[in-house]
């Protein structure tokens, strides 16, 4: 039986880890390589690194960061941010990513997912889906460009389409909950899980083990956490111990 995965997320800008609230107000959270090694030692099941650099120099620095993390890391590494073409995927895989997440570019050009899956395999084709709840409804809008742009696309429809195009996993972020510590958007997880068979990584809003447990119950296979780990509100080991007590199977 697969264990439920806990995945620290490093948002990296110009070679440094940063974290904000609802994708804004970024502050420094440390050195990516040091954090990656520390999280693996604490029991991380995987690592996600999102490159949020705005410049070409920042992007180049991130490729170096991927290589330096890979040299140390003996768990899977998923990298996303600014992936626009197969050549971007190839460059990241070459530096040591095991999976590559695409977000805005896949929304603008969905056939990119078919291309990535055919060339690199579904196992390394991850869809990063940022969703914002439409007020007073059980529907979510896909948002792109770091949450700045609404698309009018239904998140559940997009998840199903991405699966049919060959995505092997969905990194599902609630834009409303990101960095808030209010808990994951459980309705969103349920809505997406009911439409796809591929694994879902829930992201946005975690503060404690109970939030993680709720996300797993709602249908997530893995959970992403950033703020609570970077700012040492808790540790992966403590979260896993609490989850194990609650009867959730985790890797220890």
């Amino acid at each position: 039986m697969l264990t439920k995965r806990l995945i620290p997320c490093l948002d990296v800008r110009d070679g440094r880890v940063v974290k904000g609230v609802q994708f804004q107000s970024l502050r420094d959270a440390g050195d990516p390589r040091e954090l990656a090694a520390a999280y693996e030692a604490q029991g991380a099941d995987e690592l996600v690194m999102l490159d949020i650099s705005a410049t070409a120099e920042g992007r180049a620095a991130c490729l170096d960061t991927v290589a330096s993390i890979r040299a140390e890391l003996s768990i899977p590494l998923c990298v996303g941010g600014g992936v626009r073409a197969a050549s971007d995927v190839a460059a990241l895989l070459e530096r040591g990513a095991d999976k590559v997440a695409s977000n805005s570019a896949a929304v603008r050009q969905p056939e990119l997912l078919d291309e990535f899956a055919a060339r690199f395999g579904s196992q390394c084709t991850v869809l990063a889906l940022d969703a914002a709840r439409i007020a007073d409804s059980e529907s979510w809008d896909v948002v792109i460009d770091s949450g700045n742009q609404a698309t009018g696309i239904d998140a559940a429809d997009w998840a199903a389409e991405a699966e049919s195009r060959g995505a092997g996993e969905i990194l599902l972020t609630s834009h409303d909950r990101d960095g808030t510590g209010e808990g994951y958007d459980l309705d969103l997880i349920q809505a997406i899980a009911s439409r796809v068979r591929i694994p879902i990584i829930a992201s946005g809003g975690a503060r404690n083990a109970r939030h993680l447990q709720q996300a797993f119950s709602a249908g997530a296979d893995a959970v992403l956490a950033a703020s609570i780990l970077h700012y040492k509100t808790t540790t992966l080991a403590a979260l896993k111990a609490d989850l194990a007590k609650a009867g959730i199977e985790v890797r220890t």
Binding site: R5, A71, I75, G96
Partner: protein
């Protein structure tokens, strides 16, 4: 580097960075090669996971790597096959029914039951036969949609469950075949790689 100790078979667009990094951490620099001579004669060979079954088999055939690998395996030369690298050694796979595998390991790869997620992505606990030398029980990282259901006679096996029991790894003379990714399986995976290197080096002295 005319006579490298460890060769990783290069086919297509396989992601070789993680497996390369795992060996570097053990202090050995792997040499990437798609030369049939090196695939046959390298003291140690890694056959990595590479895309889809049919595409991998065709590419190996085009380069003459299938025969080189088969000959190597029949001579019992130390080989580590990972994920799809393991599956191409079977007789065939439900992934590409029109293609024949190398047939070194009896059996065909099948898909997971509809009741569970596929691909199988994540950490699954493996249990090992008593006579396993290199494998040990614990959580290993898998990323696969196909697998072998039963261990062929005379092979030592590790098993895991995803909907139903499947073969997580096989140990036989000269060959360690892992359906999971030892290079991504944390400390446990590093231990398997370390023991494989040590046993390969021991074995090479005796033949």
């Amino acid at each position: 580097m005319s006579n490298p100790e460890l060769v990783i078979m290069r086919t297509g667009v396989a992601n070789l960075a993680s497996i390369t990094a795992a060996f570097r951490r053990q202090g050995i620099e792997p040499h990437l090669s798609s030369s049939p001579e090196q695939i046959l004669s390298a003291p140690m060979l890694v056959v990595p996971g590479v895309g889809a079954f049919g595409a991998a088999i065709s590419e190996m055939q085009a380069k003459g790597l299938d025969q080189a690998l088969l000959e190597r395996l029949s001579q019992g030369r130390s080989t580590l096959a990972i994920c799809l690298g393991m599956q191409i050694l079977f007789e065939g796979s439900a992934e590409s029914p029109d293609f024949k595998g190398l047939g070194f390991i009896p059996g065909r790869a099948t898909s997971f039951p509809a009741s569970v997620s596929s691909p199988q992505f994540g950490w699954n606990r493996i249990e090992t036969d008593e006579n396993c030398q290199l494998l040990q029980p614990g959580a290993c990282y898998f990323a696969n949609s196909f697998k072998l259901d039963h261990a062929p006679a005379k092979w030592s096996a590790a098993r895991a469950r995803h909907g139903e029991s499947f073969i997580a790894a096989l140990e036989g003379p000269g060959l360690l075949a892992c359906q999971f990714h030892p290079e991504l399986s944390g400390r446990l995976g590093q231990g398997i790689i370390k023991r494989w290197l040590a046993s390969s080096r021991e074995g090479s002295g005796s033949c």
